[in-house]
């Protein structure tokens, strides 16, 4: 599969190197005020990152109906499917009658000893076929530069502190592979159906910046 980003060279510029403006960081007074207010409300416990994430995903039309959440829920229920998924995700997703979209889709399993998180430091490669449109922060220069250099700090800012006895592996998606993280199944979900489990799988948990949500 050829590399799939568009030719982004501005019109009139000789075709030399693909070109893409970065998303600007918050700079104006009101943008900074918004960031500060958000941080204070989280700190004071007015709402949690999980609640905000759920609201944003609803606004952006991401739901538990995405292929990714279903794949994760099925892997939690079916060890055989999980083993196939980790061995060859393309084949396993095809067998489950879903469209993997990319030949080398790779599933990264979170375990008590390793937490996985995905980034594309060079641009914004993302498994759209399974997760829909990438969130704006995934494409920001700040996330791309920082998550490879200080992943634990970035994850803590997402509301996902990593314990000292767990490794962090950052997956930089620089060529033709695409990744989704298989988060750990939350406790207290014994006997849940695939549909029920899928509701706990946020987009962010499949990028690796969050855990799967706990049952209410």
């Amino acid at each position: 599969m050829p590399h799939d980003h568009d030719d982004l060279t501005p019109p009139g510029v000789p075709h030399k190197h693909p070109f893409q403006e970065d998303h600007p960081e918050p700079q104006t007074y009101h943008q900074l005020l918004g960031v500060a207010l958000h941080e204070v409300l989280i700190e004071k416990g007015v709402y949690t990152m999980d609640e905000m994430r759920a609201r944003m995903e609803r606004i952006e039309g991401v739901s538990s109906e995405t292929h990714g959440a279903r794949i994760v829920a099925r892997a939690w229920l079916d060890d055989d499917f999980k083993a196939k998924l980790i061995d060859n995700a393309f084949a396993a997703i095809k067998l489950a009658d879903m469209d993997p979209g990319y030949a080398e889709i790779t599933v990264l399993e979170n375990t008590p000893s390793t937490h996985n998180v995905v980034v594309c430091t060079l641009c914004s490669c993302y498994p759209r076929s399974l997760l829909g449109r990438p969130p704006a922060w995934y494409k920001s220069k700040s996330y791309r530069a920082r998550v490879v250099r200080e992943p634990r700090e970035v994850l803590a800012e997402f509301g996902t502190p990593i314990p000292d006895n767990q490794d962090v592996t950052v997956h930089d998606s620089t060529a033709e592979l695409r990744y989704i993280v298989l988060p750990m199944r939350p406790a207290g979900t014994e006997g849940w159906s695939e549909d029920q489990l899928a509701t706990l799988v946020s987009r962010d948990s499949m990028i690796g910046v969050a855990r799967a949500s706990d049952p209410e």
């Binding site: 599969m1 050829p2 590399h3 030719d7 075709h15 030399k16 190197h17 693909p18 030949a103 080398e104 430091t121 060079l122 490879v148 250099r149 200080e150 992943p151 634990r152 000292d164 490794d167 962090v168 592996t169 950052v170 997956h171 930089d172 998606s173 620089t174 060529a175 033709e176 592979l177």
Partner: protein
Amino acid sequence: MNTRFSDGDTVRISHRDDERHHRVPAYVKGHHGTIVRVCAPQVQPEMSAYHKPGEPMRTVYRVRLDQNDLWSDYTGRKSDTVEIEIFEHWLESVNHAP
């Protein structure tokens, strides 16, 4: 297709520039890593980005690097890693002279 490296090999990511579009971020150039997976061959982005065929295709590898080797001021665990996809023509053997 013959592949130059196998799982477990130690490699060095080439420390060179290429003014064409290429898929090797600066922060890994010149660093050593370990092959953790041999992936399918792909067309070369140095050519395909300019609508040229990009052939011959080159094998892509998943390479694991130590965070503490990449960043001298890294504050996480010793065993934290980065895994990244690198094309074969950006990898050098360190087991024996290429």
